[in-house]
């Protein structure tokens, strides 16, 4: 394991026992994620991309293989608060203002009052929600709510940000804007990001590494190191390099499905 390895999975497997027999959510997944990488997981439903993220977060237990997060087991990493997790839905508490939603993890982790205020202001500025501190979640649009939930995940400044289809429920225009903001945020904070998505353009636009997965059993079919430059305006999506990567992702997805059927 090199100095800069953050997440390392080796022959990772996860089988759910159900009444209809075992379901292989993950099988022989081997993957290394280095510090500061932006890694997207893409694949059809049931390919295990969310399950993999949940294993990293210690929300699911693998049944085979080994995984380390920051050199620790996922459980140890979770206890060490090594990552922030953004779910598909914002999941803000309706009885808390935006600022108090963002400071929720800080309360649990025992930060001082002044530190909570400082960090809340800091991360709300990162997601461009200054001025909304005292609004309640229902007063914000869906996109703003999801940004607030990202701010909440960033508040305790973990090195790893795990995002499970955070923009899946939003329309494409909002999604483009949030993707741009997320890239800017990633550049400023130098976090390691694991990002689950259904969308090929989103994966290609955001990532330094794209992990293509396929279902039954959930496995990795291709890992693409993106040749795109670090500087990525939205119109990079019309460039030849972008279209080539997107093509390779699409091919990977098609092969995975062909194997499975």
């Amino acid at each position: 394991m090199s100095e800069s390895t953050v997440i390392e999975a080796r022959d990772l497997g996860l089988t759910f026992e159900t009444n209809d027999g075992p379901i292989h959510a993950l099988k022989d997944v081997t993957l290394t994620i280095g510090k500061g990488e932006f890694v997207s997981f893409i694949g059809p439903s049931g390919c295990g991309k969310t399950t993999f993220l949940r294993v990293v977060a210690d929300l699911e237990q693998p049944t085979a293989g080994k995984i380390t997060v920051n050199g620790m087991t996922p459980a140890e990493a979770r206890r060490a608060r090594a990552y922030g997790y953004v779910f598909q839905a914002p999941g803000l508490y309706p009885w808390r203002t935006i600022a108090r939603n963002v400071t929720l993890p800080l309360e649990i982790m025992g930060y001082s009052r002044a530190e909570k205020a400082r960090r809340a202001a800091n991360v709300l500025e990162l997601v461009e929600l200054e001025g909304f501190e005292n609004k309640f979640p229902w007063q914000l649009s869906g996109g703003m709510q999801q940004r607030a939930s990202i701010a909440r995940a960033l508040a305790f400044d973990a090195d790893i940000l795990l995002m499970d289809e955070p923009f899946g429920a939003l329309d494409e225009i909002v999604r483009d804007r949030l993707n741009e903001q997320l890239l800017a945020l990633w550049k400023r904070t130098e976090k390691t990001i694991g990002f689950v998505t259904h969308s090929i353009p989103e994966a290609v636009y955001l990532s330094t590494k794209i992990v293509v997965m396929s279902p039954r059993p959930g496995r990795i079919t291709d890992v693409i190191d993106s040749p795109l430059p670090a500087e990525r305006p939205l119109d990079i999506r019309d460039s030849k390099a972008f279209i080539d990567v997107a093509h390779r992702v699409r091919e990977g997805l098609r092969e995975g499905l062909a194997d499975a059927v």
Partner: protein
């Protein structure tokens, strides 16, 4: 409330009209018997007038009940020899006094029942053994008719020297803890898997999950339960007054009314109980609106 006054008043008017319409046939037999014995004919007008103004009607007319409510409260306290104006204390003949006797037991019982209900719900949600064992007993407790168990509670408590308000409050608590348990178990379990996972990613302890997620999530459920619970507590207190030959309280008033065939007294006591219940439910509703608005959960 705006715009709803007319429909509400319409419904009230319809109920009153049906009530008056029912009074005439129900009470007419007595009028006809009296007339038959006296050997006189009664006209329809006389029949109607007679049925609406009997001393001990089978079914009192609405205005008789209202008049009794007024006389047994304001008039009694204002002019009665034992009334508030003459003695400085509530008259033992007034409905205010009887209502207060019942209400005090109701509030004590409601407090006990709510506290017990919340504690049981917290236990059920956090402890698997309690989850499996407590709920069946709670449900079984509610399948026993309260009329059957109330005298036993009073007799048993009496035997150990507990009398007065407490036995009635215990019966109130017995009825009011159940909706609180059911509502709070649902409320404390209302956070979905994602919200619980989120707490897990923060490595939050169970007390923290309770304080920051489960408890606030359960507030709307708590208030819904409290509304049911306080009405049940009042019923418990009234039932607690029935089997003991109690001399005070709305239950005692109902009982003495039925001993002496004072139907108007029975009905006015029933209405007094309904007014007390409605007032308490309205107060809980106001606290609910205030709390949820302060929490930002009501828009």
């Amino acid at each position: 409330m705006r715009g709803s006054a007319i429909p509400v008043l319409t419904v009230v008017a319809v109920i009153v009209a049906i009530w008056y319409a029912a009074v005439i046939p129900v009470n007419s037999q007595w009028v006809l018997d009296q007339a038959g014995r006296a050997g006189v004919e009664v006209t329809t007008g006389e029949l109607v007038r007679e049925t609406l103004s009997q001393d001990r009607p089978r079914l009192p007319a609405p205005h008789q009940v209202v008049a009794e409510l007024w006389n047994a409260t304001v008039v009694e306290e204002w002019t009665g020899p034992q009334g508030l104006m003459n003695t400085g204390t509530l008259s033992p003949r007034s409905l205010f006094w009887h209502a207060w006797v019942t209400l005090s037991a109701t509030l004590v019982g409601f407090g006990i029942g709510t506290g017990l209900g919340i504690l049981l719900a917290v236990g059920i949600v956090h402890n698997r053994a309690m989850d499996l064992s407590v709920m069946p007993w709670a449900i079984a407790s509610q399948t026993i008719p309260i009329l059957a168990i109330a005298p036993m509670i009073i007799v048993v408590l009496n035997a150990v020297g507990v009398t007065g308000l407490i036995p009635k409050a215990v019966i109130s608590a017995y009825l009011s803890f159940f909706p609180v348990v059911v509502g709070m178990v649902t409320g404390l379990r209302s956070p979905d898997a994602m919200q619980l996972d989120l707490m897990k990613t923060y490595n939050a302890s169970r007390p923290e999950v309770f304080a920051k997620l489960r408890w606030p999530s359960s507030m709307p459920y708590l208030f819904a339960s409290l509304k049911v619970g306080i009405a049940a507590a009042l019923i418990g207190a009234i039932v607690g007054e029935l089997p003991t030959g109690a001399v005070a309280g709305l239950g005692a008033r109902l009982l003495s009314g039925s001993y002496y065939g004072q139907t108007i007294q029975i009905w006015s006591a029933l209405f007094a109980a309904a007014i007390v219940a409605a007032t308490m439910v309205a107060i809980v509703g106001m606290i609910q609106r205030y709390t949820l608005r302060r929490m930002g959960m009501e828009q």
